[in-house]
Symmetry: C2
Subunit: 206 residues, 2 copies
Amino acid sequence: MVYSSKLLENAVNELARLPGIGRKTALRLALHLIRQEEANVESFSQAILKMKQEIKRCHVCHNISDTERCEICANPKRDHATVCVVQDIRDVMAIENTGQFHGAYHVLGGIISPVDGIGPEDLTIASLISRAETGDLKEIILALPTTIEGDTTNFYLSQKLKDTGILLTTISRGIPIGDDIEYADEITLGRSILNRIPFDTGNLQN
Amino acid sequence: MVYSSKLLENAVNELARLPGIGRKTALRLALHLIRQEEANVESFSQAILKMKQEIKRCHVCHNISDTERCEICANPKRDHATVCVVQDIRDVMAIENTGQFHGAYHVLGGIISPVDGIGPEDLTIASLISRAETGDLKEIILALPTTIEGDTTNFYLSQKLKDTGILLTTISRGIPIGDDIEYADEITLGRSILNRIPFDTGNLQN
């Protein structure tokens, strides 16, 4: 592609480095930004740089935060004895959105994946073990993906944590609410029968 | 969505303002940027701001440029008597990529569209008329979209330019090279028969 401007070309190159943004989309975004008011482009560029420069990771749970200790870890109303282990901060956001969990989190920053060269030392597992060893935790909920890598990480964590006496649980897997049983995949359906729970009228959805 | 950081939320808000980028994608992009080296995010943010602040429009053809006069208008090897009128700078790039055109351009910055409130005075039409009135132009090639708005703009320009004595042409429409005739839409096929051209062995593609 021939660009009539080096400035435009540089901006397109930078935008095209973002995941899922090709060069045609990058050009469209750059031309959109050129059409905006300068103040808007300034605040766009500032917001991104400021985020990168000033954002912190909570030193307790490794969630992204504006402070040394994130809002959840600093909240005295949360149950800090129950810790939900997740792969990514997006999982924290998803669980927070449900409004069903009032404990704390631990963000691993990924899962063990030998194929991608990610070992336990690349994740915040040592920090989770330290939290477990304080004796303040009662339950650790594993909320990792149901993939080989997720299972590997679950197994590794369960081995590391088995002597701490902390209750280890995992989020339930089963047929999503509202889904037809006939269309469910067989692994999920099989698991949902094996992991059946006592009927409770409090669980009725409608 | 609950964000654990105001800085992250601001960046997501800014990214989500880009066309075609929703909030989920914006979050993915922001988290990607957080994982990058600070120097990379700095150059990302600088490239965009610098582009907005320093980019110019060529005062002859209104193409985006780093200088007052764009490379094409300043190039003595180009045929400045032949001007191709396009809607957008992306059209200039597309035509330049073909390597088939050695004239100059005129970027209208849009097309006449009463529905969107775009009239001739919002485009660089007055500047095109001035170029035509210098007497230096021999041919103006209209390369606008084949839409009602494109046709309206073509008609408006032809009316404004008819007394200048400049040859007015339009790019050819027809069956794309490599396409099967049986699958062509009937309007294009009909036009390609009406606008048939003398057979010339120089036009053979293979």
